[in-house]
Assembly symmetry: C2
Homo-oligomer: 158 residues x 2
Amino acid sequence: MRLLGRSIKQRKPFESLEQEVFLEVLRTGAAMMQDLVDVLRRFGLTQPQYNVLRILRGAEPGGLPSGEVGERMVVSREPDVTRLLVRMEKLGWVQRQRRADNRRVVTARITEKGLRLAKALDGPVRRMHNRQLHHMSRRELNTLATLLERARRERGRP
Amino acid sequence: MRLLGRSIKQRKPFESLEQEVFLEVLRTGAAMMQDLVDVLRRFGLTQPQYNVLRILRGAEPGGLPSGEVGERMVVSREPDVTRLLVRMEKLGWVQRQRRADNRRVVTARITEKGLRLAKALDGPVRRMHNRQLHHMSRRELNTLATLLERARRERGRP
DNA sequence: AGACGTTAGTTGTTATCACAGATGTCGTCA
DNA sequence: TGACGACATCTGTGATAACAACTAACGTCT
């Protein structure tokens, strides 16, 4: 009898509401990110690279220390900003310069070429976002954003 | 004047509501995932590995073809299930066997050792989830889960 | 000035991921 | 039965991520 009962699969896929929310957040995030990645690859860049471009464009003029770039990354705190920035420098999108008044700090700035690339992506990315969520009302989107922020910012950790 | 205006940073951090939702989903997902990863590393496994254990435990008895395991993965469709499963087989958590009646298919099953590990993780993971979201009401969590599912499933793609 | 702790970034190493092409197996249809 | 397309997995390769140890520069305190 136990065995028969078990064989009814997926009747209760979630063990708890909390777990359901957790999985929904991850799945939805992964799906949305994939849409972005699909757009980006047409332009030959990866998500972390695009993320850095956005951050550095927002940090103009003046640029940002490498560490702060890492902190502002969306997906992770990126323990490896150095090499990511070095790669992007080789591609000509970013310029790195050790700060004179504090030689520990390396300031990263977006280049003209990087700015052009970022600008070229604005339209496609915005359209992708609109397509993604155009079936939701303003009100629903606001609720969603608010709840997510609350879930994240006030969440309890060990 | 333009320059002065621009220097007021982060006044309008989002370009659109859609983009705000996008970023909130990703950031919240990354934060929650990090909490899980922190639990998992105490037990010496990674998120994809844990994901596979959960999938295969749910697929007992009988196991699942490698390809289907990949499809059920949360974060990505994992184009590299083969090697992930091989590694887990070496660790003794998973058993792989080519199906006799269709030699193209490799069925993966969780082992006793894998089951014990998964079981040992149940408590810590459940507690982590509760901690993460205990500040939200049932009603809020339900709304959140519903909205996320709607955002993902009905979203428009190219 | 010099010792010391801190900060910011760099480097080494290993594991994993993504992509693409290759391999072995199967079902079907002439 | 034998050719062929489809399917499921495997393998090769290069890029990237995670983790940890290391170096250089700075601030401060004596």
